[in-house]
Amino acid sequence: MTMQMTQPAPVATPPRRLTPGDIAARTTSHNSLRETISQTMSMAWRATKKMRRNPEQFFDVTIQPLLFTAMFAYLLGGGLSGSVEAYLPLVIPGILAQTALTACMATGVQLREDMEKGVFDRFKSLPMARIAPLAGPMIADLLRYAIASTLTFVTGIAMGYRPGGGVAGVAMAIVLTMIAGWSLAWVFTWVGTLARSAQSVQGISMMIMFPLTFMSNALVPVETLPSWLAAFVKVNPVSYVVTATRDLANDGTVTGHVGWALVACAAVIAVFAPLSVRSYKRHL
């Protein structure tokens, strides 16, 4: 015998036809919270793979902290605080917030680019919670905020900054920056689902980012500002975050400012997360 069956031939039964009962049994009416979280984490996993294969995505969180810390400290330090060393405790937390904001701006641009790819057609056709493709990459971006804030501190310390809050204070400041970055990223994610192209996301995000960072207390003390500007600076959520970060890093104390910063972050999420999901769904 030259030919031998290695497997028994499949018995030819006619495939079973599905009844309404079968359909009800193999489908669910919505995603449970657990499923939603699992899907979000899978999308986060996808984003980390993407980051690892496109290392240029790390430029903004590596070059910018080094450049901005040195630039602003030497540029403004003498004028504003008398010396670079005296300015560092003021400016480092500010640059921290600024870098986190730039990093979350990239979230929106990348989401928009991603949404134009063929694979998003498949994501849309899957019974996946609509928040997962948005929240997943944002969770992966926590890594970017962590890198950016650590590098900012390292640069500052190299330039002579001695955070009074010690290791614990600095660690808490980094965590707060990550929370703030994640919250504010929802604003840019919303822009990402809204705009027509990645370029327009970039443009609109710049227009949001510049006033948010520069019209805050990130680089200058509020007292030096004209009253109309101070009014905006005081309600700007970035100012809350910067003040809270200063309290944590410089004094190591969890002040009321930290509480207010968290409230501001929660408010941003409460407004922009539902807006983003709604706008993403409309793309379908």
Binding site: R16, S29, M43, R122, M128
Partner: protein, 332 residues
């Protein structure tokens, strides 16, 4: 029997501004069937599939997938479908393995099962060697196969395939056809779109012909081909000036108007059976008309179209103008 149709749609409409891309299509696909939607570029095939797959809102009419209302219950609908789009919808940043694993995880398959199914599918589709290569190194045929594999990871009972073989070479295309047949043998229902009559003919149990967003014909491949004759005789005359005489000979013999292209001396005519070609050739010889080339082929989509709609598949052509020029040719 208590079973339900895989797809049931009535009066589907999709408008883009004033333009109706899908204009009142009814569709009924039974379980276990391969149903082919045949139409030229721009006919509205993709738009129709996207509506059924919850990827585009349905503007008018209604659709059910296994009895589930697509508009009212998109989440349930998505759990019953695997969609393979016209353009590759896999992640370029991931390997084949990672893609399949991810799509399994996103649909609630456990990590371990997802990995096992991915390996099994990659083997079934002849991709195991490329399992850990980036997708950017894949050929067109490999991408299509991976795309189809990605739709199968949860073993959905209904698969949508949008032009599964457009752009593939004949060998890869044959492999894809075999794969589709295996799916159906395993109990799947397949709704596919195509621009090729031979593909619909090879695969589909039933075919709907779509033109400008409307269904212009429906039936088994045999029924459809019978409407244009089972094959087409194509002749090229030595002397283009003899075309009218030749056309008369053919008309008298077959009772059918041939299609002429005066500038090239070509003459095409539908045949009920391929062996009628011999009769035509003999009659032409008896009439003293010289022939430079002869072929008998299956009808093309163009010819089916011409027969069904009175215009060809050219996207931009105004139908009345085409019909007129055809009459002119015939009359000349």
């Amino acid at each position: 029997m208590n079973h339900i149709p895989a797809v049931h749609a009535e009066g589907l409409v999709k408008s883009f501004g004033d333009f109706r891309a899908v204009d009142g299509v009814d569709l009924h696909v039974d379980q276990g069937e391969i149903y082919g939607v045949l139409g030229p570029n721009g006919a509205g095939k993709t738009t129709m599939l996207k509506m059924l797959a919850t990827l585009l809102p349905i503007d008018g009419g209604r659709a059910e997938i296994f009895g589930v209302d697509v508009r009212r219950d998109p989440h349930r609908t998505r759990q019953l479908l695997g969609v393979t789009g016209q353009y590759a919808s896999v992640d370029e940043n991931l390997t084949a393995n990672e893609n399949l694993w991810l799509f399994g995880r996103l649909q609630g398959v456990s990590s371990r099962t997802s990995r096992a199914t991915a390996a099994q599918l990659l083997e079934q589709f002849g991709l195991q060697e490329a399992a850990n290569k980036p997708i950017s190194q894949f050929s067109g045929g490999m991408r299509r196969r991976l795309d189809l594999a990605a739709s199968l990871i949860t073993r959905p009972p209904l698969i949508f395939l949008d032009e599964p073989t457009t752009g593939l070479d004949p060998r890869t295309r044959g492999q894809m056809w075999d794969t589709i047949r295996e799916l159906v043998a395993g109990g799947c229902t397949v709704l596919l779109t195509t621009q090729y009559l031979d593909e619909a003919d090879q695969l589909a149990d039933r075919i709907a012909v779509i033109d400008r967003g409307r269904k212009v014909a429906e039936g088994t491949p045999d029924e459809l081909k019978a409407s244009v004759g089972n094959s087409t005789l194509r002749l090229r005359l030595t002397d283009a000036a003899e075309q009218t005489v030749a056309a008369d000979v053919v008309r008298r013999l077959l009772g059918e108007d041939p299609v002429l292209s005066p500038e090239s001396g070509r003459l095409n005519v539908a045949l009920d059976a391929a062996d009628r070609a011999a009769d035509v050739l003999i009659s032409l010889r008896e009439a003293g008309i010289g022939i430079t080339s002869v072929s008998v082929d299956a009808p093309t989509l163009d010819e089916v179209f011409l027969a069904l709609t009175g215009h060809d598949t050219g996207d931009s052509v105004d139908p009345s103008a085409t019909a007129d020029s055809r009459q002119l040719e015939v009359a000349r």
